[in-house]
């Protein structure tokens, strides 16, 4: 009995550790005092300050553009590539399969500086384009792994049947394989999107003057000093992320329930 209490206490402490800084930020974003120490009174002022901050809104816009475009591109390329690597043999495939793990295992900073070097070599100006390209570069492998895990579970006879009935390679992929990959594609895209939203290290090296993203903006704000408008911004981002996650998990729950009924 005592053991059980101690075990639960340990689990609780770990969660306390995980949620403490988040809780602090949310609570103090409503504090009248500037100081983030004692809670003096309730206010929405910091949110007002936030919405008058133009460079911040600009950074938010950039972040959304970069994350959405890079997620879209990496999901398309990743899905198609997962299928190609699964289904066909072609020259250089072995090398490609090995190379794909590199962005996952190497330190982000090395990927960041090597992309920066290559952009400089190609004389590309740092900006939205290089930023999006870099985000695509680090998220494609995650999409591929995610889609691959669904692909390997598909029944190979399905493809044979489609071919016997006269479908060509494109039709097989588009009409037979793709609809079955949807769960893998969605989780891959989700992963790519959250990775892109959160990325600091690679963006730090590959963003240009006009392409400040939210994490980069927050980084410079924190460095200059701690004020509650950063708390307010954090709270908004947290609520936004939670909202998306809950939406996705409700959808998945419904799907699981539906499948259970069938």
């Amino acid at each position: 009995m005592q053991h059980k209490i101690l075990k639960n206490l340990f689990i609780f402490l770990v969660f306390f550790f995980l949620y403490l800084p988040i809780l602090v930020l949310v609570v103090f974003s409503f504090n009248t005092s500037r100081m983030n120490i004692v809670f003096e009174g309730f206010t929405f002022d910091w949110y007002k300050v936030l919405f008058e901050n133009r460079s911040l809104l600009e950074a938010f816009k950039n972040t959304m553009i970069v994350s959405l475009v890079s997620t879209l591109c990496s999901t398309i390329v990743g899905t198609l590539s997962a299928y190609v690597l699964h289904r066909y043999n072609f020259f250089g495939k072995k090398l490609i399969v090995k190379l794909l793990y590199i962005p996952i295992v190497i330190p982000e900073i090395v990927l960041g500086i090597s992309l920066l070097s290559i952009y400089t070599l190609m004389k590309l100006d740092l900006g939205m384009f290089t930023l999006i390209l870099s985000h695509i570069a680090f998220s494609i492998p995650y999409v591929i792994i995610s889609v691959k895990s669904v692909l390997t579970q598909l029944n190979p006879q399905m493809e044979d049947a489609a071919k016997d009935l006269g479908a060509n390679a494109f039709h097989v992929f588009w009409n037979v394989i793709l609809p079955n990959l949807v769960p893998g594609i969605i989780s891959g895209a989700m992963l790519a999107f959250t990775l892109s939203l959160d990325d600091v290290v690679i963006s730090y090296f590959t963003a240009g003057p006009g392409s400040n993203t939210l994490p980069l903006k927050i980084y410079s704000m924190i460095k200059t000093g701690i004020t509650p408008d950063v708390n307010a911004l954090s709270t908004i981002i947290l609520v936004f992320t939670l909202f998306i996650l809950i939406l996705v998990s409700i959808k998945q729950m419904r799907k699981i329930k539906k499948e259970a009924r069938v």
Binding site: V24, D198, I218, I226
Partner: protein, 282 residues
């Protein structure tokens, strides 16, 4: 038609691998052998100087400091994750899935914001010090950040789920009959842990080690914010070479050294029976 589809469909991935993975790394490798000039550029002269410079006492210290912090962070993550995963694994399936979702949840939010949360907590005039002072537990505020302690707290916090998740996935796969059999035969809890649980979860463990140790060396923003920029880690050193000191060849040489360490850890992970596809899976 079929052949055309195959050709066309394999083009994007080939271009991607060549242009965005292979070429940048080969170029960095090439850069690391060039001589830097004093204007932030480099001349195309072959030299080993950048690698020799790594053995300079100043830089050896940075290596030692980074590996020390990464090592301590990894050990703390292991010490928290094993009991946590084992205890969670004893719960019902429903509770388990809720708890694991709760582990992932904070990590889908911005990592800088969470680091900032720790700054609010750990500062000299921060929440933890204020509470301790008000309850007269301490007389002077503790230095909880702008030192190694702050960096380690930040790193453990940011990287903990990367240890918990792979470890949990291999612990939940253990057949409970093994543990029951060991108990019936009179094995103590420690024996069960070291002789059964650890050997069966070794690939999950090394997966976690890889995903904690390596990022820990490169996360310059955590040591910047919680270490106050006083302590130089490898990540900061590389960043400075590329953005402030503008000695790209030397920065490239440090990166290559870091890649070697990564390669070694991946080899160990593969030896332990780990699959590449299981890496980096949140």
């Amino acid at each position: 038609m079929n052949r055309i589809f195959k050709r066309l469909a394999s083009l994007p991935i080939s271009f991607y691998c060549l242009l965005l993975i292979l070429l940048p790394l080969v170029y960095i490798f090439f850069l690391s052998f060039l001589k830097s000039d004093s204007y932030g550029g480099f001349t195309y002269v072959f030299t080993l100087q950048n690698y020799l410079k790594l053995f300079d006492v100043v830089y050896l210290k940075v290596f030692a400091q980074s590996f020390f912090i990464a090592f301590i962070t990894t050990v703390i993550c292991i010490l928290i994750s094993y009991p946590f995963c084992l205890f969670v694994n004893e719960k019902s399936k429903m509770v388990q899935s809720i708890l694991m979702t709760l582990v992932i949840l904070p990590f889908l939010t911005n990592s800088l914001i969470r680091t900032y949360g720790w700054m609010v907590l750990l500062r000299k005039e921060g929440i933890i010090n204020t509470i301790l002072l008000n309850f007269h537990i301490i007389k002077e505020p503790l230095s909880l950040m702008y030192n190694n302690l702050g960096i380690i707290i930040g790193m453990v916090y940011t990287l903990l789920p990367f240890m918990i998740l792979p470890l949990y996935s291999s612990i939940s796969k253990i057949d409970p009959r093994y543990i029951e059999a060991a108990k019936d035969l009179g094995a103590s809890k420690l024996t069960i842990f070291f002789k059964i649980i650890v050997p069966l979860t070794v690939s999950g463990l090394f997966n976690g080690v890889l995903m904690v140790f390596i990022p820990c060396i490169g996360y310059f923003f955590i040591s910047d914010l919680l270490g106050g920029g006083k302590l130089m880690l490898l990540g900061n050193l590389i960043k400075n070479q590329f953005l402030t000191a503008r000695d790209w060849p030397f920065g490239a040489a440090i990166s290559i050294a870091l890649l070697l360490v990564t390669y070694l850890l991946v080899r160990i992970y593969r030896k332990s029976g780990g699959e590449m596809d299981d890496l980096g899976g949140l």
